[in-house]
């Protein structure tokens, strides 16, 4: 999905740093970085991860050409030795990641990159760009989909955001919204490229083209041309008269009324009346669509408080720009060099990193094939747990900032979240080829396995995440060691 899978999708400082490491003979040191999110977006408790397939495609195609190197030479900053290393280089990193459409929580590695220092560093910004953007929108979509079903009824969510998306062509938001649970998109190219179902009716301009007040003529033309998709935008003049006109036209032409779309006014109240008009008109199967600057909060109110008879929500701007938090603050931090775990302290306790290479255990129960997540524990990557299993002994999980602990008894089931996705620069295990419908299904099942309190929209209950005793101990030891001898050298800042 990258506009070009160019190795130049990096910040300039990655190149200047790489040259400095190169001339100091440190560029090939065995180094680990991890990508994670410190704070969940939208005051929620979880993140739906998305974008892995695109990140892997970018990794696969990574290569500095002669043309790239020639352009860099024009800056007068880079040495011939460094540039010839660049041109000859192949990306040889190993990457382990949480599969796309999974959940992640604060400080959990979504992606762990291990390899030569300069290579593990130079891919930072592309990985952040792809995973921050897509995970942000997928999470927003998940919230909107949750809102639409808060009363237990199944309703559809359509993504309508192309015209106001920040991504050109709106492909990233359409893909990510589908991963997060949207049912379809209005974006035809996204449908064509990713197989996302596409939906749409007509615009106000279509009605206006028939002349002022000539709504029936426009409806007739539309119903004749689209008998299998006879959904009408009814608020160009008078909404309820529009609903009646849609019913009349469909009866007259013998077309099944697919539904009506409301795009202004008190949509909950109008939906109730529209429902009644369509039922009485002989179209109980016709649907009520609603659109107009919707988000999870307005949808929740319509569904839970206002008794709206809406079957399908069309959500655009608020979804595709994640309007209430338009950036996900994912970071990419150095975890170890030559096997030595590093820590970065901060005056803000939450910003002090978890040292060394890590992985995550997700603890769960399963009844009748249905998982319920209990909590997550970050462990050293070297810890001896299989990919899936049951705890042999009890596991204690400590909150990194306040030390509070939760204990999971022996026998508690778990999955280990990180899995190999790249080996020696090559994507492995088919994560790039996974159908988007499977990734979406994965996301929906994961969100369904959350405790209900973790799906609340504001001040959500923080899903229990902590560090294993071993990791907590290592972190405390490193903090003490660094703070003790030279307080003036305490690292701080972002």
């Amino acid at each position: 999905m990258q506009k070009t899978n160019s190795p130049f999708n990096c910040d300039f400082y990655h190149l200047t740093m790489a040259q400095a490491l190169f001339h100091d003979g440190k560029h090939d040191e065995d180094t680990t970085f991890e990508l994670y999110v410190r704070k969940m977006p939208f005051k929620g408790s979880y993140l739906v991860t998305a974008g892995l397939a695109d990140a892997l495609e970018w990794i696969r195609d990574w290569k500095f050409t002669q043309q790239h190197v020639a352009w860099l030479k024009t800056h007068g900053l880079f040495s011939d030795g460094f540039l010839s290393m660049l041109e000859g280089a192949r990306l040889s990193v190993d990457i382990d990641a949480i599969p796309e459409g999974s959940l992640a929580f604060p400080n959990e590695p979504i992606l762990r990159v291990r390899g030569k220092a300069w290579q593990a560093s130079i891919i930072e910004s592309a990985l952040l760009n792809i995973l921050n953007g897509q995970s942000l929108i997928a999470t927003k979509a998940s919230r909107v989909v949750t809102a639409a079903g808060l009363d237990g009824q199944k309703r559809s969510v359509l993504e309508f955001g192309l015209r106001r998306a920040q991504d050109d062509g709106g492909l990233m938001p359409s893909r990510a919204a589908f991963v997060g649970g949207a049912d379809a998109t209005s974006n035809v190219e996204a449908g064509f490229r990713y197989g996302i179902p596409v939906k749409g009716t007509h615009a106000h301009s279509f009605i206006m083209q028939y002349g002022n007040g000539e709504e029936m003529a426009a409806f007739r033309a539309y119903a004749k041309a689209m008998p299998k998709n006879a959904v009408f935008l009814v608020d160009t003049y008078d909404t309820l008269q529009g609903v009646q006109n849609a019913v009349t036209v469909c009866r007259e032409l013998g077309v099944t009324l697919g539904g009506v779309r409301l795009d202004s006014g008190d949509m909950a109240a109008l939906s109730i009346k529209a429902r009644q008009i369509m039922d009485e008109g002989g179209f109980p199967g016709a649907k009520v669509f609603a659109s107009n600057d919707l988000d999870e909060h307005t949808i929740r109110d319509m569904v839970t408080k206002l008794g709206a008879k809406i079957d399908v929500f069309g959500v655009g701007t608020q979804l595709v720009t994640a309007a209430d938090q338009p950036a996900l603050g994912g970071v990419y931090k150095l975890k170890s060099v030559a096997g030595i775990p590093l820590i970065k302290l901060s005056e803000t306790p939450e910003k002090t990193t978890v040292p060394g290479d890590t992985d995550v255990l997700r603890l769960f129960t399963e009844e009748g094939g249905k998982r319920r997540f209990l909590g997550d524990t970050i462990i050293p990557a070297s810890a001896n747990f299989p990919a899936e299993g049951a705890l042999e002994t009890a596991l204690t999980s400590r909150h990194p900032a306040n030390g509070e602990s939760v204990s999971y008894p022996a026998g508690t089931r778990f999955t280990r979240l990180l899995t190999p996705v790249v080996r020696n620069g090559k994507p492995v295990n088919g994560h790039m080829e996974k159908p988007l419908t499977d990734i979406r299904q994965n996301a929906l099942e994961n969100v369904a396995a959350l405790p209900d309190e973790a799906r609340v929209f504001h001040e959500a209950w923080p899903y229990p995440t902590g560090l294993s005793e071993e990791l907590y101990g290592l972190r405390e030891t490193l903090i003490k060691k660094l703070r003790a001898p030279a307080p003036a050298l305490t690292p701080k800042g972002a």
Copy 2:
């Protein structure tokens, strides 16, 4: 810049509407749409237009292939007749637009499209996607650049947003930020592709790789490898000690200290002390860079209230996501069919459209080669004004909602804003080939020509825009005509 210049960059309803018009014989009617913004973003008074070159490239390449049509056929909604018209079609619209890097104000046509109804309609979403996104970020950048110079001093603004941009590869935001006045980007691909200057120093991880507390060793390595770019991130441990270390290392190695970057803490206070350390250390030419979640408001405070000694601001997330208003609400509205001006009423007076095909006169004075804009007047496209000139008689401009008028005396100079950019589907007059530096220069000069009160960040003084008497009269007549006979048919909604 589009990921693909695909005709499928549209909403699905454009296709269903096109088929309905086709079967009703109305698809080829001569139709005009205009793209405009009702409300200026960020509570400001102006918009910097950007994205035209990319829009024109998309228009130029527009073509439904056999593959597109075959995919549409699978939906079972489209007739063979319609599909074969699609496949054979060439885009034959005419487009007039405000050149890129110009200013636009509420309700002014940024782009006017005239052509066959189905074609003028089907290009809506791509145009909105491109122009909304780029104009939003260019405007944000313009505000940031204004903030950085509020005390009359020249400071640089660097765009650092790749990692948290919503656009994949961050190309759109980097391009648009440069158009709006940013001096450089950290995004290497944007530099490579568009010729935007690229800048960067190093990250915290570079320091950490040298081991805890070994900042001097890291600085030495960087200074040796980058003697022409010796700018150091100094806040990994202790900021002011870091500044001193940078000075020491550069003196020791005989390298000219380029500057230091502050990325945390009380940056105004730190910058004053850093300035002093560098001056006393013999590097009065070294610059202070600052980054860390900056926007126009934090920069304004640093520059005007806190006496910060900062020379360069690195601005990332807040700029490239336009965080305080992540979507520009540009719209694309039907203005006339077969030469008959149309109007769309709304209960919200600001949403009632200006009828018919329009253009804009920008009135200005010029002293010593320096323009000062006085106000804008929207006129009928057919009005008899040259592209540039002086008023032959006085011009009255009326506010569309409240009717208040401003009068410009005969002799007042003006430019007419819309200019042909596409004829019969082909880009004309070189708007696609204009160097980005020229577009940026145009934007900077335009913003400089604004009255000072129109550059205020909040509650900005609304720059005077109105309708010519002729257009105001036409609008009033149409409103009366529509409101009188059939109030139940009053159009409303968005």
